[in-house]
């Protein structure tokens, strides 16, 4: 046999080799990898593991801290609405209603009072609904971001 292999690309040999099945991996490979993964995870500190694997106290602490942060944000928003209208009232008193600044503050005060009045008339259930909708939107953004990452930047796309 000589001629078929004398061509530069050896098409027959190439085809023959391409059709060879991949050598079988030893049966010990998968258990070995799983043991190594388990060993590496065992030495990881708890805060580097997924939150689901955290100790119960740590998970409870995280939930509590999240609740405190959420309550602080809600109370800050509530207080902010009230202080805005009182700030406008005091500025109008300082500069006088006839001055330009005073007129500006008066306009601001009237508008902010109107806004505060309108906002106060909105039932708290609507605020909660809005809050939930915002949270859902935010989580949705994370979902979309994750999807975009997986489509274009995930390791599975690397070649």
């Amino acid at each position: 046999m000589s001629a078929p292999f004398d061509t530069p690309e050896d098409p027959l040999l190439h085809e023959y080799l391409r059709r060879l099945p991949a050598p079988k991996a030893p049966p010990s490979l998968a258990p070995r990898v799983l043991r190594e993964i388990a060993a590496r995870q065992a030495v990881l500190p708890w805060w580097r593991k997924p939150a689901a694997d955290w100790p119960l106290a740590a998970r409870a602490g995280l939930m509590g801290a999240s609740a405190v942060v959420a309550l602080l944000i809600l109370s800050w928003i509530e207080r902010g609405l009230g202080s805005w209208s009182s700030l406008s009232v005091s500025a109008g008193a300082v500069y006088g209603p006839e001055s330009v600044l005073g007129s500006g503050w008066n306009i601001t005060r009237v508008m902010s009072e109107a806004a505060a009045t309108i906002l106060r008339t909105i039932p708290s259930t609507i605020w909660w609904t809005l809050g939930v909708a915002m949270a859902a939107g935010y989580l949705g953004c994370i979902g979309v971001g994750g999807w975009v990452y997986r489509q274009w930047a995930a390791p599975g796309q690397e070649q």
Partner: protein, 188 residues
């Protein structure tokens, strides 16, 4: 990674491809196992995205190839020194001539035995011939890409692949394996 069973199923689906690529490039069972383990540890770190990716096979092949070539590069000084000693037409340098001849009359000379014979021939080739030959024929890289990957000249790649093919051809003929008109799964 939350589900070890899912990862294990993933691993079993791709382990032959990963291990096969590694052992063909490295020609050493223990080193190929180490590389395959490293590949799957990397896959485990990215499993959330990899498990949903349609190109996971390509990713695994690329990572395996890169890790195997990096492994070989660590021994590159020794590898290149030996390559310089091999002169064109040096018949005494046939790397597969020392393998015992196959027992063709044996009942066990089936498709698996033939595949094993070819893989043995590949493994016996020196790295300077085996690596570019595997990259060309199994990984389907062009001569230019192989030269770039191995950081050697194009002419050296062609020469090494040519010598590797000649050695492999002699090896196949010893077992009366003729690539023309047959596939690895059909008896010769």
């Amino acid at each position: 990674m939350d589900d070890p069973q899912q990862f294990e199923a993933f691993m079993r689906a791709y382990q032959d491809m990963v291990f096969g690529t590694a052992i063909r490039l490295l020609g050493d069972f223990a080193e190929a196992q180490d590389i395959a383990q490293e590949v799957f540890l990397k896959a485990h770190a990215h499993f959330d995205s990899l498990s949903r990716s349609a190109t996971v096979g390509g990713w695994l092949k690329t990572v395996t190839r890169n890790l195997a070539l990096n492994h070989l590069t660590r021994h590159r000084a020794r590898w290149q020194t030996f390559s310089d000693l091999v002169k064109p037409g040096d018949e005494t340098s046939d790397p597969v001539a020392n393998l015992p001849a196959p027992d063709l009359a044996s009942e066990r000379w089936d498709a698996d035995a033939r595949h094993q014979w070819v893989e043995q021939g590949l493994a016996q080739l020196p790295a300077l011939q085996r690596v570019p030959l595997v990259l060309y024929h199994f990984e389907e890289l062009s001569y230019e890409a192989i030269a770039e990957e191995l950081d050697v000249s194009l002419s050296k790649v062609k020469t090494d692949i040519h010598r590797g093919r000649q050695a492999l051809r002699r090896h196949l003929l010893r077992a009366q394996l003729r690539p023309e008109g047959m596939t690895p799964d059909t008896p010769s």
